[in-house]
């Protein structure tokens, strides 16, 4: 029986009422009296030296408040990078300055050169067109391998080359890995591209800066997944504003997918300009601007090799990846191809030796950073593709090859520095075989062939590391931040309570699922609990939402704070019931004395806390409010097995997905309906990457797919009905809820399943096709078949 409420119940998403009835409060809904608007003049040239910027005509235009250029930001800090990677030789990465407005050079199409603040957006835009900019064009650096050649044009003149870092992991294993390859019975090798993507949240980025002259206080309203991180980065590193004078608010946010983690120039600009103009300053990105200013995702070019012994056991993995950083280092960009990617290269398999080499490269393109999955999709894609290719080369069943090499004993320390606490990869594969009706595939293939179509079945596994992460570990790895989470639980006198969480919900449904946890712990109705997030003036210092960390880390902080509340409430109850504290039990919202019928209601205890007439004041303070910070001892490791069945039209190359099954192990689950929704969304984005989405530049650094006319987003009719299951549950052993996180799994696990299925379909027709690079658009599939 499904539960009515609490942990495990599919409670309806309470926030959807306001989202679906137009009552949400998004950043663009915030309009402050006296507000001016900013329009950014952005470079339409990928690489060049700015020889002059003449703003005089613009300044004289109607409605113009002030025109800013790079000169106004001399002495203002650089947009900081939050993660420093150390290279193979022990040296720090090359880290260029990242100005708020371009200083001397432009380095990608879309880089802001000047900004006009005016009474209206139209006036700002008119004036921006009157700014005269002269740029001496330089050759654009676009292709990563060309960028690393001797004598290549440099994106940053003050760096030694376009190489950000050359990372080796685990460097000490390199010789042993090479030796294993020399001794292998079989080696499978695959070169592939993990295609560049644009996140495209439904809500574009928005920033509103406000300055209170009387108190010298700054407020930034912004579309962020982590307002405290923005407050710290912008306040401490860019603008020099102490935290107590800077409030950052991220109200309702309409999707993030990673690209709203990062601190952007527009946020710093609006905060800076609000003081400079003594006016609130607002910027709302257009969709066209989003394509050339939101951090992009993925963009890896990889060669992976898998060594096997004569019994088809995996003996070693060796990879070489070029990872595009774009023109500047976005906030967490260096961590994505390294610690979020290399550490996952073991996947679900007990491969004893692994060596990962990553060369991060600067190019004249938009910065690249985390996008749903961030590093883990790139790891999963190459690993699951090469395993599939190996099975085909060896003539063995791809599922059997995987099962043979599964990790089965936990905890399991991988050769790439992480320790999986729990998992059961056979269980999810068993579930998948049942859901996918693999037994019926041959008949479905025959039916497709009758209709002139090729049918293919692709299977893969995935493992991911979520719930980032122990602060002391990530500090050693180069993070310039802690990665704990916070929660304050404030119980009101009449028994209702507010949870102020450092996690941030931008569509995930935290207001519902977080309330379910607290309701379960206390035994009260979910409607008595309010979840507050996204405002640094209300919420304790929190690290925000990304990496599927909210329930695992933020939820754990909330549990810890709630436990403190319960412990104190029990003390109060023991006083009211004149019983020993150790005899007090909390059940269904009432405190009782074990073995008796004496009890006192939750509301009586909370009232006593605030009206302490009959209260043990000598032992405990009045009030009922507790804060906890939770720093996990390990990542969590969700895993699963996915299957995709496609039909390929051999005449056109068009791929249609006929069936898709996902068997996930997320550990314990708070709200199954929300989890299913998260998986659906992830699958849509993963299938979007596999079949449709492609962020492409030409050789001059011009973005070819700069609008929805050329950038193909997945639509409902591109997707099948999904079959999703998360009944396989091996709870996380190190957090109080036993949860692992579910936000990214769909996007991580689905691309290889799609490509494996298409390769299977093409090979069924006798085509010698071992790989097709994503997206598997009709022209690419047709070219592969006829190549």
């Amino acid at each position: 029986m499904p539960k009515d409420g609490g942990i495990g119940a599919s409670s309806k998403r309470r926030e959807d009422v306001r989202f679906l009835t137009g009552a949400g409060n998004y950043t663009d809904d915030i309009n402050i009296h006296g507000q001016a608007h900013v329009f950014f003049l952005r470079s339409d040239i990928a690489h060049g030296t700015i020889t002059s910027v003449d703003t005089s005509a613009a300044e004289a235009m109607p409605g113009v408040v002030k025109v800013f250029t790079g000169a106004d930001f001399e002495g203002v800090g650089s947009i900081p990078c939050g993660w420093q990677v150390t290279d193979r030789h022990g040296d720090p990465m090359q880290e260029p300055a990242h100005p708020v407005l371009a200083q001397g050079k432009v380095r990608h199409v879309g880089e802001p050169i000047a900004a006009v603040v005016a009474e209206t957006l139209a006036e700002a835009r008119d004036a921006a067109e009157a700014i005269s900019v002269d740029i001496a064009e330089l050759p654009a650096v676009v292709n990563m391998k060309d960028a690393l050649k001797d004598g290549a044009t440099k994106v940053h003149d003050d760096l030694t080359s376009n190489l950000c870092y050359d990372w080796g992991f685990v460097e000490e294993n390199k010789d042993a890995v090479n030796k294993a390859f020399d001794e292998a019975a079989h080696v499978t090798s695959l070169e592939l591209v993990n295609n560049r993507l644009v996140a495209n949240p439904m809500e574009p980025r928005v920033a509103v800066g406000e300055y209170a002259r009387g108190t010298d206080e700054h407020t930034l309203y912004t579309t962020s997944q982590n307002p405290h991180v923005i407050r710290l980065l912008m306040g401490a590193f860019v603008l020099g504003i102490p935290e107590h004078k800077l409030r950052v608010v991220a109200p309702d946010v309409g999707g993030g997918f990673g690209t709203k983690i990062f601190h952007y120039q527009e946020e710093a600009f609006c905060t800076f300009a609000a003081k400079a103009c003594n006016r609130p300053v607002k910027w709302t990105s257009s969709r066209s601007e989003a394509f050339i200013s939101d951090a992009h995702g993925r963009d890896h070019v990889t060669k992976i090799e898998l060594a096997l012994d004569a019994d088809n056991n995996f003996t070693a993995i060796r990879t070489e990846t070029h990872a595009n950083m774009g023109a500047y280092l976005s906030t967490f960009a260096p961590s994505v191809p390294t610690w979020l990617h290399g550490t996952l290269m073991a996947g679900n398999y007990k491969t004893p030796l692994i060596y990962v080499n990553v060369k991060a490269v600067f190019t004249n393109t938009v910065p690249v950073d985390a996008y749903r999955g961030a590093g883990r999709p790139e790891a999963t894609f190459q690993l699951e593709r090469v395993v599939d290719k190996a099975a085909r080369e060896l003539g063995v069943d791809p599922i059997a090859l995987r099962r043979q090499n599964f990790i089965t004993e936990f905890p399991y320390a991988t050769p790439v520095a992480v320790e999986y606490d729990t998992g059961d990869y056979h269980a999810t594969m068993d579930k998948l075989e049942e859901m996918g009706d693999f037994a019926g595939f041959a008949a479905r293939r025959a039916e497709s062939e009758k209709n002139g179509k090729l049918r293919g079945l692709g299977v893969n596994c995935y493992i991911e590391a979520c719930g980032i992460a122990p602060s002391n570990l990530v500090g050693q790895l180069g993070a310039r931040a802690g990665l704990y989470e916070s929660a304050t639980v404030r119980v009101n006198a009449t028994g209702g309570l507010v949870v102020m969480t450092g996690s941030h919900s931008h569509g995930q449904g935290h207001e519902t699922s977080f309330a379910q946890v607290v309701a379960e712990m206390i035994g009260i109705d979910e409607s008595m609990i309010e979840i507050v997030h996204g405002d640094t003036s209300k919420v304790p210092m929190g690290m925000g939402t990304y990496g599927s960390r909210s329930i695992a880390v933020g939820g754990s902080a909330m549990v810890r704070a709630t436990e403190k509340i319960i412990n104190k409430a029990k003390k109060i109850a023991s006083h009211l019931l004149e019983a020993s504290e150790t005899d007090i039990e909390l059940k269904d919202g009432a405190f009782s004395v074990a073995g008796t019928d004496k009890s006192v209601a939750w509301g009586d205890v909370t009232l006593a806390a605030y009206v302490p007439h009959n209260y043990p004041l000598e032992d405990i303070e009045p009030g009922l409010e507790e804060t906890a910070f939770y720093d996990p001892s390990n990542f969590t490791y969700p895993s699963g097995a996915y299957a995709c069945e496609v039909e390929v039209d051999p005449d056109t190359g068009k791929v249609s997905i006929e069936r898709f099954a996902a068997a996930d192990d997320f550990g314990n689950i708070i709200n199954p309906m929300i989890v299913t929704g998260q998986v659906h969304g992830g699958l849509a984005q993963g299938i979007g990457q596999a079949l449709l989405e492609n962020c492409a530049y030409d050789e001059n650094g011009q973005l070819l797919s700069a609008s929805y006319m050329d950038y193909a987003m997945p639509r409902a009719d591109d997707l099948p009905m999904f079959s999703v299951d998360h009944s396989c549950q091996t709870p996380c052993t190190h957090n109080p809820l036993g949860v692992k996180g579910c936000g990214e799994a769909g996007a991580i696990g689905s691309p290889p399943a799609v490509v494996n299925a298409v390769v299977d379909a093409l090979q069924s027709a006798g085509k010698d096709v071992t790989h097709v690079d994503m997206p598997l658009s009709p022209d690419r599939v047709w070219a592969a078949m006829n190549g």
Partner: protein
Amino acid sequence: MYNFEFAKPSSVADAVAALGEEDAQALGGGQTLIPTLKQRLASPTKLVSLKGISEMQGVCTGDDGALCIGGATCHATVAAEAGAYPALASTAAHIGDPAVRNRGTIGGSLANNDPSACYPAAALASGATIVTNSREIAADDYFQGMFTTALDEGEIITEVRFPVPEKANYQKFVQPASRFALVGVYVAKFADGVRVAITGASNDGVFRWAEAEAALSANFSADAIDGLSLSGDDMISDLHGTDAYRAHLCAVMTKRAVAAAA
């Protein structure tokens, strides 16, 4: 967008007069023009909406049996009311999405002559007549290359007359992002021969495939296309498909259109 004057005349004569002003621009459903204005890529001084002209609205059958569609008729109306010419109704029903179909007009589409639009293929394959405020233009004379037509400055498409073929079908292979035609083939079989018009493929915009027309006029079956092919030399090559791929799709879609029509 930049500021502009807006006029919504109720007669063709008033519209023609309004369009006589310098840098005035006719506005049909605005499905191309409005996004262009929003990106500040055009700056007309005046927009003259043709949506208020009742004589340019609707679908009827002419004395000669041709289907007559007012130039300001939106795609949704054609889809619903062009039952006398089912292939055309079906073509209209698959342009864009519901929002596009309820705003976009046949006159606007033909005047714009986007190289990937559907209506140019329908008009050319059907041997339609483009009726303007001043003359009648045969489809064969009307389409003059990508975004180029026989229309003079300020000339308005008031009506489009479609002879109704014995059999017809339009097969569109969509570009995955825009869902315009990557290649669209419209085949129309008349008593005196078959016409095949292809959109989406050529750098010169919509065109007729003479070789296929000859083969199909002799034998109206998909097999008649076997062995025929188009050169990709003058075809569009872009992110979504090479010229060779488009040339290949022309034959595939032609066969499918014939099979569906026959």
